[in-house]
């Protein structure tokens, strides 16, 4: 029987895992009373519903509803002094929960504190764009869309950013294999010749970097040059390299190059 491989997560897996191994967790502490983070949590709890909160490795992690993301970031910026949104991205949990986890990494420059606002959205759901609050979200949300397919509503220019516009699929999804899918491998052929030419071109020629050994029209053969368009086949190659290339070849037996000998 063929080995079962899950299709919803095709990323590399460990070849061995102990059934009884329980992975330790990064310690999550409660927000200390009187700390800066407590003021942040208090300010936010007046505006939005906080689903979960904790301090992980020195940074506050707040889980909110995805619909509240704009309000949360606005409160953080205006009431708590989080003037910079350093990063926006997502984590793919489609295989486990059918959800994406979107996070906003915020920075308060006067207090030198960082808050991570986390929310979850279902597949095909969109988040509200935070570009009106932070212009850095412009590129960050475009990248999130490009990599995961998560749309940001009311974004001024929701377009792919790293991949070409006509690319199929979103590369950072867990369903997307590391080496690309079928559309990725035929991308150039489809674009230049059309899908119907896949059979004509063939999988061995679709790679533009491939060098065909017996093609004397498009590729040169270092050391064994043949005239342009000469018909060469396997086993019928010229025995002796032509004189032109010989002059530059090193004679290792004498230790001097033929070029020097000529002088």
């Amino acid at each position: 029987m063929r080995k079962y491989t899950p299709k919803d997560n095709v990323q590399k897996k460990s070849y061995y895992s102990d059934r009884f191994w329980v992975a330790p967790r990064v310690p999550t502490t409660e927000v200390e009373a009187g700390s800066h983070f407590e003021a942040v949590v208090n300010a936010l709890s007046n505006v939005v519903t906080i689903k979960d909160v904790g301090v992980q490795i020195g940074q506050l992690r707040i889980v909110i509803n995805a619909t509240d993301n704009f309000k949360t970031l606005q409160t953080l910026r205006d009431a708590c002094g989080y003037a910079m949104c350093s990063e926006i991205s997502a984590v793919d949990y489609l295989a486990q929960d059918g959800e994406f986890e979107v996070f906003y990494q915020m920075l308060n420059l006067t207090e030198a504190q960082r808050v991570r606002v986390v929310c979850r959205i279902k597949k095909d759901e969109a988040v509200e764009s935070v570009v009106p609050l932070f212009k850095s979200a412009n590129f960050a949300e475009r990248e999130m869309f490009d990599m995961f397919g998560i749309q940001a509503n009311n974004h001024p220019f929701m377009k792919r950013i790293l991949m070409p516009d006509d690319w199929e699929g979103h590369p950072l999804l867990k369903t997307y294999p590391l080496h690309g899918d079928e559309a990725a491998s035929w991308y150039e052929v489809d674009k230049i010749f059309g899908k119907e030419y896949r059979d004509v071109v063939g999988p061995e020629n679709r790679d533009p970097a491939s060098v065909e050994r017996y093609d004397s029209q498009r590729f040169s053969r270092v050391g064994y040059e043949v005239p342009f368009g000469a018909e060469i086949e396997e086993g019928k190659e010229e025995e002796n390299p032509i004189a032109y290339s010989e002059t530059f070849m090193v004679d290792y037996t004498t230790g001097t190059t033929t070029l020097k000998k000529r002088k």
Binding site: S14, V26, E87, D165, Y176, G194
Partner: protein, 409 residues
């Protein structure tokens, strides 16, 4: 209107033929002043830029995807390819976030060496900045002089780790090697050299140079509000008068113990940023000089002791069975950090470089996001270029100091 077919596909919704008086020009991706693979589409009204649209992704290699398919130690050399001008700062930022995730204490000697390497990389990167920036603006000789000093710095890196560009000089949990003989002597010689050349070559050539001032003063003005809103960090943020340096505010490694100043410029223009870079190099030299005597006072231990995550020293592996078993598991399967997430910001020469790592307790990171400063500085171009003249575009690209290895990842 462009006629599209399969051989001339319709790449972007841009009309190159306009009815009005504007013109659309395509800058890059192979423009020598584009600092890599930047493609800019500029709409010009005469010589005035009315719209700018940076198009990136020409160097996209899917490094974040690769991170999900590599063990933590395997991925470290890949980080060299992010900001390839100062690779050690990428290695370090990655190693730091993994160390914070598993909660490691790095030995003091490794800390000294790491801080030295980070500051040396800052000098390398800033020299590269001044070289290319001056070259873009038209000062060819500064480029040659700055690259001369950069060679000496890269010789130092080569002495330490054997590589000049892709260093991989930091490991998760420490550093792989001790400093070679006479390295500290060479380093102090280099410090003297850089300090001398800063004053007598670069600043002598540029600071009061009439052309340099005309090309840079009041060009690329970035207000503090915009700098914050666009997520600018590093010299771009401090060049707008905001005093924020992660080395000071959220200290890592030995920066908490070291004595150095954070230069800022409130002129908010390219000239102020240039002066800032020069001052930052001086501060790096100052840090390096403080670090040299610290080295001798440290124990010779280089890697953290956490055999569950990091291979034990060779002697232990060869003499103790359990250390050998743990080493075998680490080599064949890779380390398994605890479940959780971490974001560790560092001050790379370009700005805030941080890795967000989401771990599910597997040997492969569940998600790794590289927060690269240049990515956000590239986003800024679409606003800062509007209203400037076409001749200043190259200056502004130069002053943002973007490196496309980390923009596209």
């Amino acid at each position: 209107m462009q006629v599209t077919n399969k051989l001339t596909p319709f790449f972007e919704n841009l009309n190159f033929d306009r009815d009005d008086n504007t013109m659309v020009i395509n800058f890059g991706p192979q423009h020598p002043s584009a600092h890599g693979q930047l493609r800019l589409m500029l709409e010009l009204d005469g010589e005035l830029v009315t719209k700018a649209y940076p198009d990136i992704g020409y160097l996209h290699r899917g490094i974040e995807k690769m991170a999900e398919n590599m063990t933590y130690n395997e991925f470290l050399p890949t980080t060299d390819r992010l900001d390839y001008i100062a690779s050690t700062s990428n290695n370090y930022a990655y190693a730091l976030s993994v160390e914070r995730l598993i909660g490691l204490e790095v030995p003091r000697r490794a800390q000294v060496i790491r801080t030295m390497l980070l500051e040396l990389n800052r000098i390398i990167s800033h020299l590269f900045f001044i070289a290319t920036h001056a070259l873009d603006v038209g000062a060819m000789s500064v480029f040659l002089y700055a690259f001369r000093e950069r060679e000496f710095a890269m010789d130092l890196m080569e002495d330490y780790c054997g590589a000049r560009l892709t260093h991989s000089a930091v490991r998760i949990g420490g550093v792989p090697l001790d400093l070679p003989k006479n390295w500290l002597t060479d380093l102090s010689k280099f410090c003297t050299k850089v300090n001398y050349e800063l004053e007598h070559t670069y600043e002598a050539l540029l600071t009061e140079n009439r052309i340099w001032k005309m090309r840079l003063e009041d060009v690329g003005v970035l207000s503090p509000e915009d700098a914050l809103s666009w997520g600018c960090t590093g010299p771009m943020l401090r060049g707008s008068g905001i005093k924020y340096d992660i080395r000071k505010e959220e200290p890592y490694e030995l920066y908490g113990e070291l004595d150095f100043d954070i230069p800022i410029s409130d002129k908010c223009d390219s000239y102020g940023r240039y002066a800032l870079y020069m001052e930052e190099m001086r501060q790096s030299v100052r840090i390096l000089r403080q670090l040299i005597p610290m080295y001798d006072k440290t124990e010779p231990k280089l890697m953290a002791h956490a055999p569950q995550y990091i291979s034990a020293p060779k002697e232990e592996i060869m003499t103790q069975n359990y250390a050998l078993m743990q080493h075998f598991v680490l080599v064949t399967q890779g380390m398994r950090p605890p479940v959780g997430e971490v974001y560790a910001p560092t001050e790379s020469p370009k700005g805030e470089l941080g890795f967000y790592i989401k771990s599910e307790g597997e040997p492969y990171a569940y998600r790794l996001k590289c927060r690269a400063p240049s990515f956000f500085h590239t986003g800024l171009l679409q606003e800062i270029l509007v209203g400037t003249y076409i001749a200043d575009v190259v200056t502004i690209i130069g002053t943002t100091n973007i490196v496309f290895g980390e923009v596209d990842r």
